[in-house]
Symmetry: D2
Subunit: 404 residues, 4 copies
């Protein structure tokens, strides 16, 4: 057992930290201002940052294997944390932003030669964006067997009908392709009925209806969250990813690394919140005493630190398990980090907000926005409750077989 | 001791409930749509609702004494709860919306004959709106002695300089007057240094700079929350409310009823959330079981009910104490409801959101918006922590004198 | 609506408070010492206190109707709170201690003429004690339909077989009779299968096996909690209370007032804890500052006050509902107080313990003992979770019929 | 970074697990019965277990360096967890029980040749026990500068006067020596005023007054917690440990490993609780459904698992830091585990108790006793609040120097 970073991680952390200090933080204010004016398009300064990141060898770090930087999950995780300190800019600048990351992984692992050439290549180059359309407004989508969008074969085509929402990134005009999850079969094994198909943005029958909000935010700088209407949308059969009926399995495979990324970015957000909390506590005085000397404020800071240390270790261990025992061997841990991280970071952000007074809920500090992002992650990929339910079943099973 | 409503309350509750059923709930969807298009102005349909409320004798119910409906706090409180079920519409339609309510109370109690004629009369008639400017971005404003805006006498005028933000209602173009809190003195008793002055919207030197956000929301349907710049703003001496140096005392007097209103509306919001939670739980199925039969969902519903029953009683008792023992006699209770209510209702709303999945955080359900309102009330009138600190001091004092 | 005590309550509160000050608190230390030496028997000084309480007209206050003091639930509740401040002495001294109170209520309401003469009379006179045997070690007894003890008719007798535990009060040698709940029928309506029978202590076949502990405490001063073995215990048919098959209904009827008593005593315990907390905070210094000035301590005191005010109102309202709408009309509230009170008081006690350092967990302060009592009440009459489950079902039903 | 155990740890874990399965668990019932009858002496069967443990090479595992097994903190920590699964037996059987462990470390590191020969040797051999007397009833002892016991030089002797309590282990008649912390100086650096002296049990003037309780428990199987009176107790000058004035520094050094041990044993207790919870949930049925299928029960099990995984990693990392960066370099983490672990394990135990119904609070399951042990650890070595305060100060300092 050893808790030190390896050499490559150490080197990349330093390089990334320098990029944050030299390029990302100084750009935040302008980014914010441009974002307010650029509608659903990314702020103009992003292009320059992408170029710079690429130049510095900070590009596609998330992607293992030959197509990407080739890092292990354990090596990439600490980098994702650093990116999370400025989550509107850093992931996008380094081509490590969701949902593209998950989509690229999926195309790298399950995509056909043609699919990789057509979609993976420009994604890896940062030339296009993509979206993932799974959640539906009309069913409890955390139970994948509820998915109602139909994908029906008709000759050489699939015909898709359904309604999706909270397809993140899809409002960005640069989002060129959607990965759509739907049912290709009504019977047989309930986990072999779903398939994933690629739907180019300009396919007839596909309507991007509106941007969904998250606590009042449009999240335009992340490409928003679209409601999609699919009416007799036709795509050729070779647009299915992997094989027909493989949708559920692919979705599962996609989840593991995504959770690591999300959770590490959340930890980065929490570290940012602690910094802001300390800075505020050291600079404000109320009732004759600096906030930094008030017991309740100290309690919050201490709790935040204690929480973050635990979360980080759990996520890193999960990354290590994924690297050494595979997605399946890390199943419990992948659920555990999804349960533990968003809510804990939400609490830290909530207290940071409280410490900032009215300003905390507004647009002059990043806290309220970060809070909304953390809150939404308690629902993304299924509400925490679904994961707890499943984790408990697994724990109970362990004790059944143990005969206790 | 008796927990039944008196006759007048019972009659008014029924009348108000009928108004909600017949006029308010049916208008919600249109209101929402108009709000999205009307910028900082109130949705057009509000005017008709105001007329109707007035016709039904549901007007200025909040105001005790001759100028208003003459209800006690205990009689009005259950009506505020009902209004809170549709907080964007009902309070405004009945001329019972903050911050006008507090401003009208203040003018009714401390305003001069001239001030009442000029500002109170049109406010009571629902012809104009008003705002209250206390919080400042640069100081911990919950400690009123920190307030930095200066109000300096210059001959027959006061000259005001300072910066305020989160002046609720001030973005509404119909907001004709601001009550501004500032320092008229640099020495003497620290609680006699502040004064309140009336500043008409069109006074030179007053700039409404921008609308502040609350978790991404503009709160435009409530008139937003303005940042104000006051640069050498001059108002005649008769624009001071009460007497010079009386600002702190007036602010204190203003707080009591305001807290009752806020807290009862929050309870109405919580009841709405419970309704939505039950409806959702009864209509959705996940993993083969309706949500309504799942243990964790039941836990949430039970907890919500147990919480709301306690909160309501505490707020009603506080109203009763204010009626029978005065603002001062109810001091501890007024702090207690401010501490207990927003956070508890926030938790109920959070769970209702969780139960609604992705939809919960978006614009198709009122939950995320209500949540943001509840969250902001943990900061409005000073963060909870300030109130706990003061309440504890009082409790400790009690035990000191008891000799224990 | 009116939150003031009526005249009779006010008068009795004063009389009881005087008794506490003059007789109970001064006796606490000696009581504690005697208790440590008197085994399962009550400390000798109790007899004198009982006499004195009776002389002062503070006797059987809990019992409505002709047999007792004739108070309503709402009138008795505030008296129970006061007794709860010294829960080892005051309830026993005034003949208002559980489980006798519930047993007397039950005999007064459902007992035959003969049962009342034989058992109720000496209980009312404080000459004997009694116990209630419901919980069984082998089944989830909160679900009464699980009760396995069998009560089988055999000619003029019932023959009882089973095992019970946590029969509170039964270790006291003065405990002369047990009310035993068992199954008289294996079929028919599952809520008509149970009956309650009176079993005198000296009945052959009844063995009091051992005293059960509560977090290491024997609770000997309350008569302990016995494990009972019933082996072919025979009692005449007239020992059934009410009618055969009526056990479940009687148990339900017994619950309402018992919960009011328990909850109000808990509130009295919480008030005692707040007093101790304040006294400690005012007298100790750490790190150069009296505890009373430390933010976290203030937070605890404030939270305790805010919590207690809410709980008390909820319990009082429940008492009022029981008086005006009956046990059935107060069903939800009776569940709500059982859910809300023990855990909240437990938290207050826990913080009071923390403030007392090592002493808090030991025998020199009453806090750890009170804590254990509060903790046990989260399980008594069924765990909180059972009540939440049922309360939620009721809430959901309300919304089903409302058509939402 | 690597999360796998090294070879030696793996081997020792297996050996220890076998010892638990073959010797410890089978002895639990008898141990419990003997403990109830052996007063303050250890249950007779302990001697045989000690012999067996020693024979299996499971002896003094906690002690690094030449005197003990020579394991690093990181190697010993997982073994302490396993021992914590049966905390009344396993640590004592392997000579790894507090407070001897801390006392042995201290003598090994700071003791003179003579002290090591006289006291360390028989402790290492498991022939005697020892106690550590720091806490005083009359002052907030978590602030070491408050310690009031005086140690005054008088010729060749120290004369000690004071009162101590909660000296764990001291009620055991085999406890042959006490390490007493007191003040040797009234002025100078406040952290150089304390010294530690060895006081043999039979020294005149030393009275072991009584056993303190922990929530009703005597903890006799751990040697209880004594109140000590020291009246003109005289010991030769060579009984001081390290140097005069070094008490505070030695106390600090003693804390680090002790916290690791306590926290890992707590984690073992939590694992035991999870096992019991699962076993109970799988074997009980209420309201027509096994507890294992009820949502709230699953929630508890999942939360317990998620919590334990995080805690374990944090403690292991702290052990690693102590091994690689020293006690001082691990300061924040040592505080963090003390804050995070006891309370979290307390919650897990509380839920396990709740799941066991009345049995949970009693003596037939180990849960209530384990709970009391966990609860007491929130106070041992100073209440959590003291550690949070200090941890926050350190965090704030970090940000001051960072200039943010």
């Amino acid at each position: 057992m050893d808790f030190a970073f390896d050499e490559r991680t150490t080197e990349l952390r330093e390089r990334l930290l320098a990029f944050m200090d030299e390029c990302v933080y100084p750009a935040e204010e302008t980014f914010q201002r441009q974002a307010a004016e650029s509608g659903w398009s990314p702020p103009p300064l992003l292009a320059g940052l992408k170029e710079e990141a690429r130049r510095r060898g900070l590009w596609n770090l998330f992607l293992p294997g030959e197509h990407g930087a080739g890092l292990t999950n354990l090596q990439y995780a600490p980098l994702a944390e650093i990116m999370g300190r400025s989550p509107g800019i850093a992931p996008a600048a380094t081509n490590c932003a969701a949902p593209d990351t998950g989509n690229m992984e999926l195309l790298a692992e399950f995509g056909s030669e043609w699919q990789r050439r057509t979609w993976l290549a420009p994604l890896l180059a940062g030339e296009i964006r993509s979206a993932f359309a799974m959640t539906e407004p009309d069913v409890a989508s955390s139970d994948a067997t509820n998915i109602a969008t139909s994908i029906v074969r008709d000759g050489d085509f699939y015909v898709i009908n359904g309604r999706k929402w909270y397809a993140s990134g899809a409002m960005n005009p640069g989002c060129a392709v959607f990965i759509v999850m739907g049912r290709t079969s009504q019977d047989g094994d309930p986990h072999r009925r779903q398939s994933m198909v690629l739907v180019p943005r300009d396919t007839p029958g596909l309507t991007v209806r509106r941007g969904m909000r998250v606590f009042g935010y449009t999240d335009a700088d992340h490409g928003g969250h679209a409601e999609l209407l699919l009416e007799d949308v036709r795509v050729p059969l070779d647009h299915v990813i992997g094989e027909e009926g493989g949708g559920f399995a692919i979705a599962q495979a996609r989840l593991g690394p995504g959770r690591i990324h999300h959770c590490m970015r959340l930890i980065g957000m929490a570290e940012r919140a602690i910094e802001l909390m300390c800075a505020r506590a050291l600079s404000r005085t109320a009732f004759g005493e600096p906030l930094a000397r008030q017991g309740v404020v100290r309690e919050w800071i201490a709790e935040a630190r204690v929480t973050v240390e635990q979360l980080r270790l759990l996520v890193l261990k999960t990354a290590w398990l994924m690297d050494t025992a595979g997605n399946r061997g890390a199943h419990t841990e992948i659920q555990a980090i999804k349960i533990a991280t968003p809510r804990a970071v939400e609490t830290i952000l909530d207290r940071a907000i409280q410490l900032h007074g009215a300003g905390g809920v507004g647009q002059d500090f990043p806290l309220a926005g970060l809070w909304a992002a953390a809150r939404a992650l308690r629902l993304a990929d299924g509400p925490d409750e679904v994961h707890k339910r499943s984790l408990a079943r697994r724990e109970l099973k362990k004790h059944m077989s143990a005969g206790s």
